[in-house]
Symmetry: C2
Subunit: 435 residues, 2 copies
């Protein structure tokens, strides 16, 4: 890089994808980074910035200075720009917005007014719209004019004179049509669109189901205001999958391989401390049955197995529910069917494991009644554990509680508490026969 001649270097960069430029930038030693930045032109800086993580973006912006930074921002896609600005400190956000071209800063501020995780927040205004009276030839001319700025021009959206979305045409249609044909006659009228308030997850599902490359976004008057592109929707789908995994593991947000240890520990600790206190509840339960336990110490041998199994079956059910909630529309019928199904699953699993452990416990401890106590405990706790793993996340979903609350460890720990209560309850009833 040091010896590279500027023009040669620029030709090379032009051939590279923004993703690769960003990776090269990150691999450079810090002292060479500024030199590298000075070699890039505004457009290259803009596309590279979109591929960097937030911390790096801020470093680059600080180095560029407000004037150049604003020029770069001008070239960025609006949706990426909004994400970048959201992460800045309020004062630097204001500073950048004030220095932008007025129309640009207006557009960006409009986007920021939509709630997070909606179609309005993620849409781009770099698309091509076609008035309904255009001919195919007019469209081709317009395309030539806009080809360089449009982010995605796979579909062309047709609007009427009120700017309402009334149809869509694809490249395929254009190529197969005569130049003088009217857009109105060849367009496809049943356009599937979302509104600015549609949840991003819902929009991503539509793109996935219909195999679309882009999806138009309209406001409440059906006026076309932007499009969602498939690449942004892939990121949404991946983000949702990560959230599911957080739910199952209570691992805390945003821990990846590069997170520093103290930060990772800090994000994980709140959950662990909460679970520690719930774990102490289990301890309190065991302590109330101290007498029972002292009389038949063998009861303690099966404690880990019973608590563990109940936790495991709950986690299994939770995984099925969490996964299903992201890909299905939920109604009362679906919920009732699911709960009934899981009840049946719980009964089958409970009976199988219960009978198995009865036999094992009988052989091991030579006490048929102990085997029966442990077996029947497992039947009951596995049914309850399965249902808890199903119903708790459904209730949380219903009340729109942050679903991270329905985490795997939480269900596991709750199931621990329940299973010990049942275990010692049953054991206490038969205590005189067990000794």
């Amino acid at each position: 890089l040091k010896d590279a001649k500027r023009t040669e270097f620029n030709r090379l960069l032009d051939e590279l994808h923004p993703y690769d430029i960003a990776r090269i930038y990150e691999l450079l030693p810090i002292k060479h980074r500024n030199r590298f930045l000075s070699f890039l032109n505004i457009a290259q800086l803009a596309s590279m910035l979109q591929e960097l993580d937030n911390e790096q973006q801020q470093n680059v912006l600080n180095h560029l200075g407000i004037e150049k930074a604003v020029k770069v921002m001008d070239k960025m896609d609006n949706d990426d720009l909004v994400t970048l600005l959201e992460e800045l400190l309020p004062e630097s956000k204001e500073k950048f917005l004030a220095n932008m071209k007025k129309e640009e800063s207006q557009v960006v501020q409009d986007l920021m007014n939509y709630s997070p995780e909606t179609a309005g927040r993620l849409m781009t205004n770099r698309y091509v719209w076609i008035p309904q009276h255009y001919t195919v030839k007019d469209v081709m001319n317009k395309l030539r004019e806009y080809a360089e700025i449009a982010e995605s021009i796979n579909y062309l959206y047709v609007i009427n004179d009120k700017k309402q979305l009334i149809g869509v045409i694809s490249y395929r249609d254009l190529i197969l049509s005569e130049p003088k044909e009217q857009v109105e006659t060849i367009m496809y009228e049943r356009v599937i669109s979302v509104t600015v308030n549609t949840d991003q997850e819902r929009a991503a599902q539509i793109i996935q189901r219909y195999d679309f490359l882009a999806l138009p976004v309209v406001n409440h008057d059906n006026v076309l205001v932007g499009i969602l592109t498939v690449d942004d929707m892939i990121d949404v789908l991946i983000q949702e999958a990560s959230e599911d995994i957080e739910k199952l593991s209570a691992s805390g947000k945003d821990i990846d391989f590069d997170t520093k240890a103290p930060i990772a520990a800090y994000r994980r600790l709140p959950w662990l401390i909460l679970l520690l206190f719930i774990g102490l509840v289990s301890g309190t339960i065991v302590s109330t049955f101290e007498e029972t336990l002292q009389k038949v110490v063998a009861l303690a041998f099966f404690m880990p197995m019973i608590a563990g199994m109940t936790g495991n079956t709950g986690t299994q059910s939770l995984a099925v529910v969490v996964r299903g909630l992201t890909s299905r529309d939920i109604n009362k019928k679906v919920v009732m069917k699911l709960i009934f199904r899981e009840l049946l699953v719980g009964i089958i699993i409970g009976l199988t494991c219960g009978i198995l452990i009865s036999i094992i416990a009988y052989i091991w401890q030579g006490n048929p009644l102990l085997g029966l106590v442990i077996g029947s405990t497992l039947v009951i706790t596995l049914i309850i554990g399965t249902l808890a793993g199903t119903i708790i996340p459904l209730i949380l979903h219903q009340f729109k509680v942050d679903p991270a609350v329905a985490s795997g460890p939480l269900i596991t720990t709750l199931n621990d508490v329940l299973s010990l209560l049942i275990y010692f309850g049953i054991a206490s009833i038969f205590i005189s026969h067990l000794m």
Copy 2:
């Protein structure tokens, strides 16, 4: 539907997306389904079939009869057809292949020869390739000819006379160029491609990173043999996320809201039974410390908490690793850095929770030594639990063991065993002072 006139009905269907037609079909009562099928033409049947699940596909094929079914298969995308055929019984697969057009069946059989989960298996042959000597005008003519059969024509791949991939042009380039310009001069030469043997996950990552709509697939001689489309890659990404969730929950493959209870129970049971036996190992450990436990029954009060916490921290680490493995390229340096990071996290978490529980145990049981035993146990088990949750999946990944083995419940259960061993080990040392 009953009263619908055939032509009207067909016009309606023509306006609907295949996804919606498939959903309508599924919602119909079974007795009306065959009537519905008879209303569809071959092309409609083909696109609907691609949107149905495997069980429904087979019902439809059986109803159509071999002759019509083969015609429908002819119209299907090759990659979807291969998936369908793979799920059939070997004898019906052979029957369909024998009845297809020779060239079609050859293509399909070639695809089936690639290993599952590779680019070769998922690629489609419905794309447009352009010889390098073409002019822009020639390309437009070829496009008109192929527009109807090409699945995705967002990018046009340029090949030399050996059919090797040498460049790519986008619609944008075509529109912005003069008709008489040569393709060679406007094409982009640094085409990113994958080979037929590339793992599907890797290909999906490339599409995601570079925001591509399609990715060319070449054989070992760099001859262009197919393309991967973004919609198929979205399905791959979602499938990979589901596999991650299976790993964390050991919930078994392919359980969704529609799975029947006995099947769901059958898929979940193998794991639970394995975990039941591992849970008995915990029991055996506790039983060897029967004497210790009988002397200080209070030790049993903290058993669920210690085992639970160790399991939880392991699950958290597992989630971070599992998620990271799907999105990162792994090398020795990354692994060592990650293990060291998790060691630090374990130490921070262990010390925090350990000190906290020491104080609580001391206040609750009024025995400072008991508090110290429990606190120091938790420090050690949380460090070990964190490392186990990190190292076990990494080792399994290294040896390419089916990663489902590194499931959350398994790590939880293993951590149970380890933590009880440490707990009673420490307690036994101090037993004379604890009483």
